[in-house]
Each structure stands twice: as C-alpha cells, then as structure tokens.
Symmetry: C2
Amino acid sequence: MEESKFCSESLVVKTSIVFPTDTNTYGTLFGGKLMAYIDDTAAISAMRHARRGIVTASTDSVDFLYPIHEGNAVCLEAFVTYTGTSSMEVFVKVTAEDLISGERHLCALSFLTMVAIDENGKPTKVPKVIPQTEEEKSLYESAKERAEARKKRKKETEELAKKYRSF
Amino acid sequence: MEESKFCSESLVVKTSIVFPTDTNTYGTLFGGKLMAYIDDTAAISAMRHARRGIVTASTDSVDFLYPIHEGNAVCLEAFVTYTGTSSMEVFVKVTAEDLISGERHLCALSFLTMVAIDENGKPTKVPKVIPQTEEEKSLYESAKERAEARKKRKKETEELAKKYRSF
Ligand SMILES: CC(C)(COP(=O)(O)OP(=O)(O)OC[C@H]1O[C@@H](n2cnc3c(N)ncnc32)[C@H](O)[C@@H]1OP(=O)(O)O)[C@@H](O)C(=O)NCCC(=O)NCCS
Ligand SMILES: CC(C)(COP(=O)(O)OP(=O)(O)OC[C@H]1O[C@@H](n2cnc3c(N)ncnc32)[C@H](O)[C@@H]1OP(=O)(O)O)[C@@H](O)C(=O)NCCC(=O)NCCS
C-alpha cells in the first residue's frame, strides 16, 4: 500500500443530464436520485484512494438549496479530504448548470464517511491524504472536528435505535 | 384542506428484496440505493399527509449500522411526525430481515424534511399531525428541537456553500 496520496488522485467528476424519468411533477430532480448519485461518486473516489472495496458508514446531513431542472446538467465533484485508520471522509459538491444560459448554482454539499474493507469484510488501513490547494487544506483542517462529531452522533443514533426498535 | 391528520394516515411501508444488481462486491446493499429508497418512501408519506406535490428540503445525517445482504428483505417504514407551516418531518426506520432465519436488524434511522409545493412551485400550508402511539408522541415531542437545529444548520450550509463556490 502507498503511504499517502494527493487529494487530486481521488478526484471524481460525474456530469449527467437530468432526464424526465428522474424528475417529479414540477420537472425537478428527486432528492433520492441525487442522494444515489452522491453515494456513487463518493464510493468511486474512496476506491481510487484506497484501491480497496469500501462501504458507506454514514452520510452527514444534506440541505437541498436549489431545485435541479429537467434538461439541466448536474455535476458532482468528489475527493477524499481526510482519513482515519480505515475510514475516509469524502466531500461531494453538487452543481446544476442550465446548459442553454450557462447559469450555475451550487445545489448541495455533502460529507460521507467510507470505510475500506478487506477480503474478510473487516475494516482495513488506508493511505493518508496530502492536501495541496486552498480548498483541500481548508477541508483537511476542519475534518478532525467533523470526525469527532460523528463519533458522538453515532452513539446517539445507537441509543435512538435501541429506543425505536422496541416500538 | 383537512385541519389535521393522524400519523397513522401517512404511514408507508415498503418491503423489497435485495437483488444482486443492488449490491457491492461483498454482496451487501449500496448506501446510495438505500438513500434512494429512504427518499422515495418519505416522499410518498409526505404526499399522503399533504395531498400535494412535495420536494425534499433536507435529509439529516444517516448512520449505516449494519450491512444488508443480498437476498435479505429490506423494510422501510415512514410517517409524518411533525409539521411546520409548509414543512413536514418524516421519520424513516430501516430494518433488514434474513428471510430464512427470521433474524432482524435495525439498520438505519432517518429524518427528512419535505416541503409541500403549490401549482406555482411555492411552499404551501399542510395539515397538522396528531400523534397517538408512544412512538409517535415521543417523536412529536422531540421534533421542535430538531427543526430548530436544522434552521441553524441550513445557515451554516449556506456559509459553506459561499466559501466552496469560490474554489
Ligand atoms: C461501517 C462499518 C464497517 C464499521 O464497522 P465497526 O464495527 O463500527 O468498525 P470500527 O468501529 O472498527 O470502525 C471502523 C472505522 O469506521 C468508522 N465509523 C464507523 N461507523 C461510522 C459512522 N457511522 N460514521 C462515520 N464513521 C464511522 C470508525 O470511526 C472507524 O474509523 P477509523 O478506522 O478511521 O478510526 C459497519 O458499521 C458496517 O458494516 N455498516 C454498514 C455499512 C453498509 O452496509 N453501508 C451501506 C448500507 S445500505
Ligand atoms: C425546499 C425549498 C422549497 C425551500 O424554499 P425556501 O425559499 O427556503 O422557502 P421557505 O424559507 O419559505 O421555507 C419553506 C419551509 O421549508 C423549510 N426549509 C427550508 N429549507 C430547509 C432545509 N434545508 N431543511 C429543513 N427545512 C427547510 C422552512 O423551515 C420552511 O418551513 P415551514 O413552512 O414549515 O416554516 C427550496 O429550498 C428548494 O426548492 N430546494 C430544492 C428542493 C429540491 O429540489 N430537492 C431535491 C434536490 S435533488
């Protein structure tokens, strides 16, 4: 395994057209379709970084700031911003583009945690990342705090799961 | 429009089999596929409550506690727990079941906010909910706090969006 990799080595760009079958009665993209795109793109990014199979451990909250219209291009950019031992934080930026006017909107930002898995399905070590650009450095530096918040949150989810399992 | 509805009136249950095409190399369901199921189920629930078109405004964080294996049944249960003026909080519980052994796991819990939309694409008023069971009451009572947290979070997302748009 390589010791460390640049963020740019895990960069994934996925541009798609919003088809009528992906939209609701207002002609805008379904949230669930976008969530699936976000996870796909993050998964490819994490596999480029780890060169291993991966699973999604969690997705942080996502606010859908703007609707994405039929016929628009939706562009997802993802890269690994930070790693723990077996976990990788992947940042995904979603931009919509009106292909006729060229107008663009940042529609959503998302942080996912992907975990590298070995042949026996157990979490396994991943390379470190080296941030280079301002954006990469800014995300890298704020990542430790997000990772701590997630640990706390997972405990709360497990408590909630215990509670609502009993209903 | 009816003044108020029971939570049970918006209950949606969606049980599916995990097909090989929905799984990774370990034979477990993709996170993105589950996110899409969660959004679909929440959307139907919100439409049952509002009897209006809806959009997904946001999804709170989701922790994937257990993998869901090929051939398992994945069961999603969703209902509207709380409403604002145009917004509805939908709670989604995801359970996996080994159909041979009958063993079940609560795999994920999720809160989504759906907004009812009128003919002109503008947010529009929805009925109130009346919680009846212990589970419904517990979720109803804790919902206001989650709604407040989301307002704060959306502001942070907008700040972050401003920052990362410039890169
Ligand atoms: C993700 C998973 C492998 C973690 O297993 P685990 O027994 O908790 O393993 P560990 O406690 O050793 O955690 C492994 C790493 O994942 C991280 N992690 C675990 N759960 C997490 C969560 N909910 N959010 C963020 N990170 C998480 C841990 O912090 C740890 O990171 P590190 O190695 O960088 O320190 C396990 O929970 C799982 O298989 N979940 C289901 C995954 C899945 O199927 N996703 C798609 C659902 S459809
Ligand atoms: C959701 C949306 C209609 C809200 O529009 P807006 O201009 O912010 O409207 P308002 O400020 O009047 O908010 C309407 C309601 O939504 C709630 N809301 C808005 N953004 C929210 C968010 N990110 N999370 C939770 N609730 C939110 C508000 O609190 C308000 O609730 P209330 O009426 O119960 O008090 C708008 O942001 C939008 O269209 N987003 C894209 C939706 C979409 O296309 N989703 C799928 C993406 S692929």
